[in-house]
């Protein structure tokens, strides 16, 4: 939600420039540009020496805060700083004072990423990694390894040395050098016993209502993702139940055997309550993941953390923006809300490296020993959810759209953690909620898999196939750094070409493409 350029040990007299929509110091060496959006606000506080700029999500029911810096006593300034981090929605704080490092603190929600980099005198920050491309020095073996084996870790480390992520509630200190300070771990709890009279569905609905009501949603300017899945389905139907006929919907269409099921089940979900007539759909088989001319293939500086399905997702977002929407509501976080633990349901963790990923280079394999080092402490929101928010936000923000993710609301997360096994198993909470709306077994007990797996298969075996040949012919920073083994990649491609296609073993080649394209664009 912010872009910034901060120069410590320079002038710290800030003013708000209404014309350009940014805060700037008198000497012009520091600037803060809040993301302009009706769901956000910003304000500045100073005690004549110290300055605090707050960029944050607006809460429902309040007028927009005045952006012009206001002067407080030192005691009131201290109180304001203490209060600022109790804001229940997302925020970024920027603190400056003469003669000391600048500080930038991220809020707890992770809705938009904040990447930072620096040169000898200045700290730069943005939600769009492309803005920091000139600071990308080389690839980080450990982080590249994590992504290649699909075992990501939420941390301040990015694939590019020189570009850092300010994780949730972390503070970046810059003055001389950059230090990103992690916060205390957020605590989590486990299942509890339900009372005999417990109305779980009622509590779920109340929690969704609170999550939706927390922010000032404008129905006419809001579109709900409605994929046919249970998470977006429960949130969107509840919103439409409360405000019939107001909300438009959107989705990407999948390929494969699940496509007919997606179309049919989505139609039933839309008919169960009253949505607006507009239903914005992009067919991911027509707008392919790595279609020629897409931004990634064209050398665009798209961070590898952005949407794997970047091209169709960008196209869908453009339709949403053309519709006039400024806000998108998603179902992200729904899986994590009701997940079973390893103790409840022993299952293979993601990213168990196997001989099937023949292309992992020696330097990447060696780095995996340290994959869990220096990662962020537990957050209020599950770390995989935070990473999924990060894939989504830049595409949306470029289109002028702010995302809302009700399943990441603290009370939703807490409710999910407390529910007993039988309410979480196979997402019974969401299934029973949809059944309570009158939706039948075709929606709530479908046996047909709906997945982007076939879209990815198509991308790898058709659109991307020539890209692999080009990489092997022309080279890649990933080869030079020992992170991908070209002979191993050739083995992997022979397997891909000979078939049969394997979702465990072939699909992971997509990350090779995304990392290569990002490395080529940024370095």
């Amino acid at each position: 939600m912010i872009k910034l350029r901060l120069t410590p040990y320079a002038n710290t007299a800030w003013a708000w420039d209404t014309t350009t929509g940014l805060y700037r110091t008198a000497d012009g060496q520091s600037e803060i540009t809040p993301y302009g959006h009706p769901m956000l606000e910003h304000l500045g506080l100073t005690d004549g020496t110290r300055t605090l700029v707050v960029v944050r999500e607006r809460t429902a029911g309040r007028a927009v805060a005045r952006p012009e810096p206001r002067t407080l006593t030192a005691a009131d300034f201290d109180a304001a700083r203490t209060t600022a981090v109790t804001w229940p929605l997302d925020y970024v704080l920027v603190e400056t004072a003469p003669g000391v490092p600048v500080r930038v603190t991220a809020g707890p929600c992770g809705i938009a990423p904040l990447y930072v980099a620096h040169d000898a005198t200045t700290l730069f920050g943005s939600w769009d990694m492309a803005d920091l491309a000139q600071h990308a020095r080389t690839l980080s073996p450990r982080e590249v390894a994590r992504l290649l084996i699909y075992r990501p870790r939420y941390s301040q480390e990015t694939v590019f040395q020189g570009i850092h992520r300010v994780t949730e509630r972390a503070t970046a200190h810059f003055g001389g050098h950059l230090h990103v300070q992690y916060p205390e771990p957020a605590l989590h709890s486990g299942p509890r016993e339900l009372a005999d009279t417990a109305d779980v569905l009622g509590a779920f609905v109340a929690a969704m209502d609170d999550a939706l009501d927390a922010r000032p949603l404008d129905a006419e300017a809001t579109v709900f993702h409605l994929t046919g899945g249970f998470d977006s389905g429960t949130v969107a139907t509840r919103a439409a139940e409360r405000l019939p006929g107001q909300y438009a919907t959107s989705t990407l269409l999948i390929a494969g055997p699940g496509r007919e099921s997606q179309l049919r089940r989505r139609a039933q979900i839309r008919d169960a309550v009253s949505f607006a007539g507009t239903d914005l759909i992009v067919d991911a088989t027509e707008t392919g993941v790595l279609a020629p001319g897409c931004v990634r293939r064209s050398g665009g500086r798209i961070s590898p953390y952005e949407e794997p399905l970047h091209h169709p997702f960008t196209r869908m977002t453009q339709l949403i923006a053309q519709h006039g929407a400024r806000t998108v509501v998603t179902g992200l976080g729904g899986d994590e809300m009701v997940a079973l633990s390893q103790q409840e349901y022993p299952h293979k963790p993601m990213g168990e490296i196997s001989d099937g990923l023949t292309w992992i280079g020696a330097r990447a394999r060696a780095a995996l020993e340290f994959a869990d080092d220096a990662i962020a402490p537990p957050a209020r929101v599950n770390s995989m959810t935070l990473l999924s928010l990060e894939t989504t936000a830049p595409v949306l923000l470029r289109a002028g759209i702010w995302p809302v993710h009700p399943f990441t609301d603290p009370d939703m997360i807490q409710l999910g953690e407390w529910l007993p096994y039988d309410w979480r198993e196979l997402k019974q909470l969401q299934r029973r909620r949809l059944a309570a709306l009158g939706l039948g077994p075709d929606v709530t007990q479908s046996r047909t898999r709906e997945s982007f797996a076939e879209v990815v298969q198509h991308a790898l075996t058709t659109e991307a196939r020539p890209l692999f040949d080009a990489i092997l012919k022309d080279g890649s920073p990933l080869f030079e750094e020992g992170l991908i083994d070209p002979d191993g990649l050739r083995d992997g491609l022979r397997q891909l070409d000979s078939g049969p296609y394997r979702e465990d073993g072939d699909a992971q080649l997509l990350e090779v493409i995304d990392l290569h394209l990002a490395a080529a664009a940024f370095l």
Partner: protein, 53 residues
């Protein structure tokens, strides 16, 4: 200074559902980062979302 103050904290109606206490603890890295999709999805099978395909 009123706009600096957060809104009134919501009550937690979910608390009334339960008869046992909540024990709060620190999660392991595996717990924080476990990818949940395979533990149950719309169709009870492995369904990919956009963070891992």
């Amino acid at each position: 200074m009123d706009d600096l103050m957060p809104p009134a904290k919501r009550s937690t109606p979910a608390e009334r559902l339960f008869t046992t206490k909540a024990n709060r603890r620190v999660q392991t890295p595996g717990e924080c980062h476990e990818y949940k999709k395979t533990s149950g999805s719309s169709d009870g099978a492995k369904t990919y979302d956009t963070t891992a395909t």
